[in-house]
Amino acid sequence: MPYKLFDVSKEIPERKKHIYVKHCSDPKEDLPHCNSKTIPGSMTERGCAFAGVKGVITGAIKDVVHVVHSPIGCTSYGYGAKRYPTTPDLPNGEKFPIPDFNLRYILGTDLQESDVVFGGVKKLKQSILEAAKEFPEANAIYTYSTCTTGLIGDDMDAVVKELSEELDKTVLAFNAPGFSGPTQSKGHHVGNYTLFENLVGTKEPPATTPYDVNLIGEYNIDGDLWLLKSYLEEMGINVLSTFTGDCCHDEICWMHRAKLSLVRCQRSATYIAELIEEKYNVPYMNVDFFSTEYASENLRAIGKFFGLEEEAEKVIADRMAKVKDELEFYKEKLQGKKVFIFSGGPKSWHLSKPLEKELGMDTVAVSSLFEHKDGYEKMKDRVKEGTLIIDDPNSLELEEIIEQYKPDLILGGIKEKYLVHKLGVPSIMIHSYENGPYIGFEGFVNLAKDMYNYVYNPVWDLIEFEENPNPQFNDSITENVKKAAEEESK
């Protein structure tokens, strides 16, 4: 039986098709059912399409102003939601005058009841004009529709068209109201298409080289991008544009000029790589940099594409020398530890094998919030016989997994982390990391170190109060008490 229904989900038997136990002899099509609507009231960990576009795709861009067209909540929650640091450096050698701009400000229309009744277009226009005035440094203005504006039907496309002309500045509308699509993945999709259709091909880079790449789907979580960039630059490769970690608005406009696109997060950003390939003949390559083995393999593939094989080997050798001993130490310590990876999307297939192969761990379960079929195929491909693969696990299922599979560690999100702790199991934040970056060679050591620090923290041995910590002593007392009681009864 490849599919499994958890006891806690017997009242919602539709869940069964979302939970698959890998059997190598199963046909290829046997996969968890995915990318469909969550069962209401099931305590999902999923988010909305607005989170997908602002929280993942556009929030990392360093020089644009974001105006959320919504009642105040979406604006408040869109503020500094993720850890994506930026430098003030711009491609023309200048500095963006407001440091940490993408983390510092969020703007919104704060819609009121009267706006809901009479429409919010006027307020949106005024807000965009004020945004331009408040932050004249910003190179573009991005606006977002939300549940309210989707339902009341404000024509945001017309507003941004009008104001782009009036302000002589790019104003974009991202039409991904929270209710659209089953998960945040819908927002990724809208983000990709909106940026491609409006920006790519509209500007030329200050300079080009024969070694220009787009690094797509790399959001610089906790500095991931900066590590990857150092490898590529040492090989002689120039990152012309990132999509979208530490990038500026203009970089997106000239993505068509790269020689190759590298797709890092293949769930949230393959769309734009495909669109660029289709329209501008820029080929794309899926890349995976989690762990030393995948990082090496993929740097070699990039080296091969550009004829920079030797340079790639140099970088690999240099980094391997740096991390080898530490990784050996962690492998010894983490050997046999059972891990459950609950990622948003691709990290479940990125990490399952490296944790086993390079750190000797045992991946007992993998799951994802918003993966699609292709992602689950990769997940299935990379896990061993008997591993659980779960689509959109809810918190009760999470509890049952802990009870049944007794993982030593869970890699998940902040919403799951503290529940997992309450059940006595350590949990690491895998979406935005604990002490990252986690990518590449040094990043893999950081991840191993965090896992070691969590699993071996003394707290897990101190959880319960022991009335009689010495069992021998304990036994002798019981014996004595028994004897005394017996004698007394005589």
């Binding site: 919104g108 309210t148 339902l151 009760l396 009870e403 919403k415 503290y418």
Partner: protein
């Protein structure tokens, strides 16, 4: 000179809000109920963003369900989602109370939430039988996101809870306390004060344990996990029979007013007991409402705070300008305390509009004898721009101002919600004399570390 200068928002656009929408406040209130689960009738972001915010601040689980509205619901209504959501939640989690919390989308769609709840209840009775299904209380809480703020959502939830659950019976000689959106440390401090006065209380609602729960797997309720504590459904029912209700915040007084109107339970509002005078007033109103004496031990605690103020405030704090931002109730309380320390709350800023806040700031201004710039219905960007022109020595507020403080190079003493870039703030009170002690320590240590240490470190020798 003693006056205030009210400064209202000059822009249409909001930049870095000092408020969020209603549903968060309702989810907060329902979390304080023993085996109570918030069920958000909206998109998944409406639950996920709130869970994310609460977990960031409290570092605790935050179990909130959602009806997952999508395009079909936008067109045909959310009937199916809500009924199915209630039934799934009831069957799998066996809660004692489900708070059905609306959002912008379900309010705009115009779902008949009360009708849908009735249908769900009927179906549950068919599935579980009368006895079991009766134990699951399902309360509609209307919280349109485009009206007022999260504070109104908290108030609406509280009002819905007592409206639907309070049951008149024998008088219980208890006192109801509506603490507002405060931290576990604050609720524990209120319980400590009431305990010293030998008063039994019903806290509406008691988030202290749910938002600060022990890690003890052997004692935890699992499958489903429920945090320790919370106000029981029976206690909420019994709130109709209490001697009085004290609502610590003006924004959260509707529940108390409903209990007064329907069951004659006296309602008393504020002040938010931060600092000396507000806490004194809180004790006096407890005494007046119940007739109990204020014990010596409590006055000794007051004396310890007075001792700390005498030792520290003239030497390190007096005359220093402070900017304070946050919700109107806490901000007003903190401003008064800062005044009691001889400091100057030169600017206070809130995201929510509140007449009481303006009046309270008038009082503080009179007490300190200097003018206060009062920003109401404003945002953090407005405060930032103001501070660029009118610098202060210390900022007090939540972590959302952390980058503003950093780039203005003004030390930030944290309080309120959310605080995610420092630890322990949810556990340490700001309420009561002990809360005052905590605040004066935070303020003074910040001044010592950021103002004295870098320039005149020798002054710290003794």
């Amino acid at each position: 000179m003693s006056d205030i200068n009210v400064m209202e928002k000059e822009r249409t656009v909001t930049i870095n809000p000092l408020k969020t929408c209603q549903p968060l406040g309702a989810m907060f209130a329902v979390t304080g109920i023993r085996k109570g689960i918030p069920l958000v009738h909206g998109s998944q972001g409406c639950s996920t963003f709130v869970r994310y915010s609460l977990s960031k601040h409290f570092r605790e689980p935050s179990e909130i369900a959602v009806t997952s509205l999508h395009e079909d619901a936008a067109v045909f209504g959310g009937r199916k989602n809500l009924i199915e959501g209630i039934i799934n939640l009831a069957l799998r989690f066996k809660p004692e109370l489900i708070g059905v919390i609306t959002t912008c989308s379900s309010e705009i769609i115009g779902d008949d939430v009360i009708g849908f709840i009735k249908t769900a209840q009927q179906q549950l009775t068919e599935q579980l039988g009368e006895e079991k299904s009766k134990k699951i209380n399902i309360i509609p809480i209307s919280t349109p996101s485009f009206v007022e703020t999260h504070l109104k959502g908290y108030d609406n939830a509280l009002n819905a809870l007592v409206t639907h659950q309070a049951q008149p019976g024998e008088t219980n000689e208890k006192i109801n306390v509506v603490p507002g959106m405060v931290n576990p440390g604050d609720i524990r401090e209120i319980k400590h004060i009431l305990g010293m006065m030998n008063l039994e209380a019903i806290i509406l609602t008691d988030t202290s344990d749910p938002f600060d729960s022990p890690l003890r797997p052997s004692k935890a309720e699992m499958l489903p996990y429920y945090p320790k504590g919370g106000t029981s459904v029976e206690e909420i029912a019994d709130s109709a029979n209490s001697t009085a209700t004290i609502s610590l915040c003006h924004y959260a007084s509707s529940g108390g007013e409903t209990l007064e109107k329907k069951y004659g339970v006296k309602s008393s509002i504020g002040p938010f007991p931060v600092g000396i005078q507000n806490t004194d007033e809180f004790l006096r109103s407890l005494k007046n409402l119940t007739g109990v004496k204020i014990p010596e031990e409590l006055l000794d605690e007051r004396g310890i705070l007075i001792d700390a103020m005498a030792d520290l405030s003239s030497r390190y704090l007096a005359g220093r300008k402070v900017a304070i931002y946050g919700d109107p109730c806490m901000t007003a309380g903190i401003a008064r305390f800062v005044g009691e320390l001889g400091m100057e709350p030169s600017v206070v800023c809130t995201g929510a509009k509140s007449e009481e806040f303006v009046n309270e700031m008038k009082t503080v201004s009179r007490e300190i004898g200097s003018s206060i710039d009062v920003m109401v219905g404003q945002d953090l960007r407005a405060l930032e721009v103001y501070l660029q022109e009118n610098p202060v020595e210390v900022m007090m507020g939540n972590s959302d101002g952390r980058l503003i403080a950093r780039y203005l190079d003004i030390p930030l003493v944290r309080f309120g919600f959310p605080v995610f870039d420092r630890v322990g703030y949810h556990r340490n009170p700001i309420i009561g004399y002990n809360g005052g002690l905590n605040l004066i320590n935070l303020l003074t240590n910040t001044v010592l570390e950021k103002i004295y240490e870098p320039v005149t470190h020798w002054k710290l020798q003794q």
